[in-house]
């Protein structure tokens, strides 16, 4: 996965890691079976860059949001594991706003990863509010209480 993260950075791809991996990168010891990426819904240049990078690994290209909400989430099984691309995120107004507040976190190997900021991650988790989100919400609220939610 480190290789892909470096390539995303080198190609200037606009993305924000969200979901379970974003939780892990805030310092919560947590397992996730996939990598969730929030990407702008209609940035055609960004889709082109992503499709070049993923060309050998996906059986269908990533495509922009359709007029009736098609392609809102696109999921692929790749050599890096399951990658999910979200063209919108409950609780977060827009990609552009989230990108302006984004943070860079280092993974366990020191690779820089652009992530949703802590407060947006908390908002997204509260909006999703599934059973499996509750532990994440508690962790983020605890970080917030300690002034560590960045």
């Amino acid at each position: 996965m480190d290789e892909l993260l470096k390539e995303l950075h080198a190609a200037g791809v606009r993305y924000l890691v969200v979901g379970g991996q974003a939780m892990r990168l805030t310092g919560m010891p947590r397992y996730s079976m996939d990598w969730d990426f929030f990407i702008p819904a209609k940035d055609h240049q960004n889709f082109a860059k992503l499709n070049v990078l993923l060309d050998e690994d996906v059986d269908a290209p990533l495509v922009p949001l359709g007029p009736r909400g098609e392609n809102f989430i696109q999921t692929y099984q790749t050599r890096w594991g399951v990658l999910q691309f979200h063209l919108g995120l409950p609780g977060v107004p827009s990609f552009d706003e989230a990108e302006a507040r984004a943070v860079v976190r280092l993974n366990e190997n020191g690779i820089a990863v652009r992530c949703l900021c802590g407060s947006d991650l908390l908002a997204a988790k509260k909006a999703a509010n599934r059973g499996r989100d509750q532990a994440d919400i508690e962790f983020l609220l605890e970080l917030q209480k300690l002034g560590k939610l960045l």
Binding site: Q21, R24, L25, T26, G27, M28, P29, Y31, S32, M33, V58, D59, A60, V63, R68, G69, E70, N71, F72, I73, Q74, T75, Y76, Q77, G81, V82, Q84, P90, R105, L106, N107, E108, A128, R130, A135, E138, F139, E142, L143, K145, L146, K148
Partner: protein, 73 residues
């Protein structure tokens, strides 16, 4: 130097204790390798609800495979 004895390190009856411990000392830990997954083609969804349904079905399939064969076929 503060030395914690085992009985001081144990917190009981407090469901949120581990969350406080993790948040007090956040550390990025490598994700363990996941189970092998059944092959699937690219999936596209209109909503998170649709995606969650598909994901739950996939997890159920994995659980059944493991129960049947001890591994994902």
């Amino acid at each position: 130097m503060l030395v914690l004895r085992p009985q001081q390190m144990k917190i009981t009856g407090d469901y949120k204790a581990k969350t406080r411990l993790w948040a007090g000392h956040p550390k990025v830990v490598a994700s363990p390798p996941g189970p092998p997954l059944p092959r699937f083609t690219a999936q596209k969804f209109r909503t998170h609800a649709q995606m969650n349904l598909w994901k739950d079905a996939l997890l159920l399939e994995i659980a059944r495979e493991v129960a049947r064969h001890g591994r994902v076929a």
